[in-house]
Symmetry: C2
């Protein structure tokens, strides 16, 4: 059997573009004991995948010539493990390819639900990241003023809505007036600020005259600095991502207020990964599905069709094009 | 009555030097209701006073022409408040001058103890900063690997010793082999690293192969980055000072690992000020005095004599000359 693969042809210097990728056909290795072969259905796009090209993170750095890494919803077509059978759905690190043969160690059969892509958005990495980041890491409380950056993105749009459900005042930071409108009209944010025009520090001060209790940071860099300047005494900063730092050779030093602002205002800044809260997943699924069913939580997905759409979709996501979770459908379910 | 004052003649561009100051004689204002006049005995030097020239901090920014700000141990010579009488000792913001007339609102008479300068070191700002920073903000536990920067300074030398008392392994970072020797021989540190030669990140890795549990940061900048790279998963960083950022016009963005390292290792970074822990002062005084009496805690002070020594002493402190707490004696007690 063959698999169509998207290869990271070379590591980017500076910004990533579609010419860093090419497509190729390869033989699919046969599944051995402990392995399964899958047919990829939907591949999730994530800004963090650009950081995998910069060096080791929570996974080894990507190298030129690798199949581009990524997480997919996939269907088992051949199984050499007892706990999975043909037809089961799994979320797995398949990489950007139509078929993959992978270790089945940490995989399990997923329930079928509608729409099935929710397994990659609200019930997948972005949903759990928003939930645990805001509630466990950020410990938001009713009445808090919460600011979130990359607010129209997969994680940010959920963070803002969950904060509203928890009784907070919510301000989103995003990159266009169009997205600002969406945040307020479609996602129920109290305020939305466009970082691409004017002075963000001043704009934040206007909408948060009493300061920020919790800043949920998806971007780092200058926007983090603008938030630091507006934090309330004893405020909390949730470090979830650093999108502003990803699309270059290496991260740059560009946050001025560290450690100065942390000291002056006795701030706490805390990073987290999903793995930290694995034991609390059942609670998260319960809450998220309740809010989705009741219509309190709106899940937005952008779904493109065709393996060849992946490079363009990632480059666009890094340029801030997306609203909600960006997913590429590789095959019909 | 006259007072001799050291004036900040102009705000420094770049590094501070003694030519930014001049001495002048002024009339001492008479104390009105609610005020006292004092005779300054000992003035404490603190690297943070350079930051007061950069902008507003926990106090308004210093301006050209101001009497240089500073905290002193002083003797009341005239009192217009009932709770203080002539001869009482107080710690007060007198500024760099031989006599001062000041509001007595937040002042109280201090016990006499020997040496009296301990009121400015172990029982003053540096002692309480080390104690609360390490135990309350950093929450060190027995068996932790603790790293402290500016380790031979007023705060750092106490942080390391308190961490040893609490059963930690302690590594100090300082700026010369001479100070490294002192840290190990006189202060009981397990290891000491000279940041001025070689690659600090690599050196830290060698002495902390399993990573750092608590990093007590007095300096920010590159040294903070070297520590960030060596933190253990779920480690804590105590943000106490940013000496590397003080001696210039404005703080620079020069920490690369924020927020990346915080996310990858689920680190917590927390700033604090002494005011945060005012309610715990009795406990702190009890512990610190017990450790001083038993000889477990060694207090090192460098005392210079004469008001005119202040500018030179501060410039030297910013250049890393000092061991322990630097104090200038202005008058005999």
């Amino acid at each position: 059997m063959k698999t169509n693969q998207i290869i990271l042809s070379k590591l980017p210097k500076g910004k990533l573009d579609i010419h860093h990728f090419h497509i190729q056909e390869s033989d699919l290795p046969s599944a051995k004991d402990g392995e399964i072969s899958v047919r990829t259905l939907y591949i999730a796009l994530d800004a963090a995948s650009r950081a995998w090209m910069q060096g080791d993170t929570y996974r080894p750095a990507l190298q030129a010539g690798n199949v581009m890494a990524g997480i997919a919803l996939a269907e088992v077509i051949e199984s050499h493990v007892p706990h999975l059978t043909k037809g089961d759905l799994v979320i797995a690190e398949t990489g950007w390819q139509t078929h993959a043969t992978i270790s089945a160690d940490a995989l399990f059969a997923l329930p079928t639900l509608k729409p099935v892509t929710y397994l990659l958005s609200i019930y997948g990495v972005p949903g759990l990241t928003a939930y645990f980041g805001l509630l466990q890491c950020g410990k938001v409380e009713q009445g808090n003023t919460v600011v979130v950056s990359a607010a129209a993105g997969a994680v940010g749009s959920l963070v803002g809505q969950i904060a509203k459900i928890k009784g907070c005042r919510v301000i989103g930071i995003t990159g266009s007036t169009h997205k600002c409108d969406l945040l307020k009209k479609d996602f129920g944010f109290d305020e939305a600020l466009d970082y691409s025009t004017g002075n963000l520090e001043d704009k934040l001060r206007l909408v948060c005259p009493d300061g920020i209790d919790v800043y949920f940071d998806n971007v780092g860099g200058n926007i983090l600095d603008a938030a630091l300047s507006n934090m309330k005494k004893h405020g909390r900063i949730v470090c979830c991502g650093a999108i502003s730092q990803y699309d270059s050779d290496t991260p740059k030093a560009n946050v001025v207020g560290i450690p100065g602002q942390l000291i002056l205002k006795s701030l706490t800044m805390k990073g987290f990964l999903l793995f930290d809260y694995l034991d609390k997943q059942p609670e998260a699924f319960h809450d998220l599905s309740t809010w989705v069913s009741s219509g309190q939580l709106r899940v937005v997905e952008e779904i493109f069709k065709g393996l060849e759409q992946l490079p363009k979709s990632l480059v666009g996501l890094l340029n801030g094009e997306n609203i909600g979770k960006r997913i590429v459908q590789v095959a019909d379910i």
